[in-house]
């Protein structure tokens, strides 16, 4: 196998994995930007999206509509969690926010276990999605799911980019993330901004959940845990609170994980996650603001 083809294959894998991390990390970062809160329940929106899609398919909906429904239910779940759990403690000390989001995580995961049991459920895919493309006599392979992941992520990110640069609510979300007090003073309806942010973030997580389930073939109540940790690392690398940073961090992390496995001796591969978390520690120590987040400078 030629080296160029091997690299191309690894880049395909990296983009596909990075897309998932980016989808989850963006929502995590968006909510942190506005509320200064690490929403641990964010990963569980993946589970909500995955299970909802499964249920809707079982009810007879086509795969496409089931996915749309799954994203919608994920978004709705995020909004409900914000209204019932986070809004009452808004403005409380960080520890309170942290514990509240951990509590929500436990409630959601145990609800998942209660309804669907703790064992993994098969996630059915339509036949057309279960195929793979092969190029250069099978030296490059990518599945329909890879393709769908990259395409849907692209659509979601383009829509988000348009939203945060062209609409009042999107601009308001960025303004509130930068300076909540000033956002109040210009008359922005901050509650509405927060609801929209949760809807978008949780919808993105729901989409990531569907794609994750499609790649692994199963849905389970704890499926959001590992992606959440990875998204957390991605968001820190990019600059916690920055949307563009989370995007960059997601793809960098995806690339790093794929390349560790692809280019290092196979004895290193099991330490992939350890290396990733060492990177997190390094960033927290030496560049806690991440790659993209601007440090506020005072101008005179």
């Amino acid at each position: 196998m030629s080296f160029e083809l091997y690299i191309t294959q690894q880049i395909i894998n990296a983009v596909s994995l990075g897309s998932l991390y980016a989808l989850v990390a963006i929502g995590l970062s968006m909510i942190f930007g506005i509320l200064r809160m690490t929403n641990f329940a964010h990963g569980d929106m993946m589970m909500v999206g995955g299970f909802s899609t499964l249920v809707l398919q079982n009810l007879g909906l086509g795969f496409g509509w089931a996915v749309v429904g799954g994203i919608g239910v994920g978004a709705l779940a995020g909004v409900i969690v914000e209204r019932t759990a986070y809004r009452p403690v808004r403005g409380a000390p960080e520890v309170t926010l942290l514990l509240t989001s951990l509590a929500v995580t436990y409630i959601l995961e145990n609800l998942g276990i209660l309804i669907f049991t703790s064992s993994a459920q098969n996630f059915p895919l339509p036949d057309w999605m279960d195929s793979a493309f092969q190029l250069y006599n099978g030296q490059i392979t990518f599945t329909q799911i890879n393709l769908l992941t990259v395409a849907l992520t692209g659509v979601a990110l383009t829509a988000l980019g348009w939203f945060v640069t062209r609409t009042d609510i999107g601009l308001g979300m960025r303004a509130a993330a930068e300076d909540m007090g000033a956002a109040h003073l210009v008359g922005l309806d901050v509650n509405r901004l927060i609801v929209v942010a949760f809807a978008i973030a949780s919808g993105f997580a729901g989409l990531a959940g569907v794609l994750w389930a499609a790649q692994s073939g199963v849905v389970e109540p704890y499926m959001g845990f590992t992606p959440l940790l990875k998204a957390f690392v991605a968001a820190i690398i990019g600059g916690f609170g920055s949307i563009a940073g989370a995007l960059l961090g997601g793809y960098l992390l995806g690339a790093l994980e794929v390349f560790i496995v692809a280019f290092f001796p196979s004895e290193i591969s099991p330490y992939r996650d350890a290396i990733v978390f060492c990177l997190l520690i390094a960033f927290l120590l030496f560049r806690p603001n991440g790659l993209l987040k601007r440090t506020q400078e005072v101008k005179l």
Partner: protein
């Protein structure tokens, strides 16, 4: 003679209250256990510029923050054009006509100049009026027009102050609250900002101005209040206060008469 307000019983400025656009009565605000505002009465009539003077920590910024709804009063009333606003959220207060240009400018640094102005009008629905006001602000500050696609974080301090002022004006306020517009600016820029404020005053904009620079503030204002440790220690017309500098100094530092 400036009128001494300290220890004076009952509401002051009663003769003005019929015409007052903004009326603050017996306002008390606490920061934790500390009383930051201790029974302040203050009024601003439509078209008037009123200065709020006083040393650091006298409670000037707290007054403005409470009027815009960022801080909640412990007791007392704030009335804008006959409507009590002291229990309303900030977004409602902006819609009722109070724009607050905060200390330290607080422009949104990652947004462009044009986007900052757009958010200033976020509470308004009339698109045509917003577009007209935006052109008006670009005419007032041509440098902002040149930099409209630049992110606000890259502007100089003076340009940021212009943008903060423009953003507040985009709300088309009935009264403009200004917190230290000269803070940290070079003298030339301070002059430019105050020339603009004088033009705004001439065009009928009502202002409540917090300013460290007493001379600049009294040149612009019609009337002034001096705050000391959360109370009005002196008030009067700008001309009276300018003529009696010793009274102002005493009101700042604590009367030793």
């Amino acid at each position: 003679m400036p009128e001494r307000a300290q220890g004076e019983p009952g509401p002051v400025g009663k003769e003005r209250s019929a015409a007052a656009l903004l009326e603050v009565s017996d306002l008390r605000v606490n920061y934790g256990a500390v009383a930051a505002i201790r029974g302040v009465n203050l009024s601003v009539a439509a078209g008037e510029v009123v200065a709020l003077l006083g040393a650091n920590g006298a409670g000037k910024s707290t007054m403005l923050r409470t009027i815009s709804g960022l801080s909640r009063p412990r007791s007392g009333r704030i009335v804008l054009g006959g409507e009590a606003i002291h229990r309303l959220p900030p977004a409602r207060i902006v819609r009722l006509g109070i724009a607050h240009c905060p200390e330290g400018r607080r422009v949104f640094g990652s947004l462009t100049v044009a986007e900052n102005l757009r958010l200033g009008a976020a509470a308004r629905a009339d698109r045509a009026g917003v577009a007209k006001d935006r052109e008006h602000i670009y005419a007032m500050f041509p440098i902002l027009s040149e930099r409209r696609t630049q992110s606000a974080g890259t502007l100089s301090g003076g340009e940021q102050q212009m943008l903060a002022l423009g953003r507040a004006l985009m709300a088309q306020p009935r009264i403009l609250l200004l917190d230290e517009p000269s803070l940290g600016l070079a003298p030339l820029l301070v002059q430019q900002i105050f020339r603009t404020l004088a033009e705004l005053k001439a065009s009928g904009v009502t202002m409540l101005l917090v300013e460290q620079n007493i001379n600049l503030a009294l040149d612009l204002a019609d009337r002034a209040y001096v705050l000391r440790t959360g109370e009005v220690s002196l008030k009067g017309s700008a001309a009276e206060l300018k003529a009696d500098y010793e009274a102002v100094a005493a009101a700042y530092l604590g009367a030793r008469t």
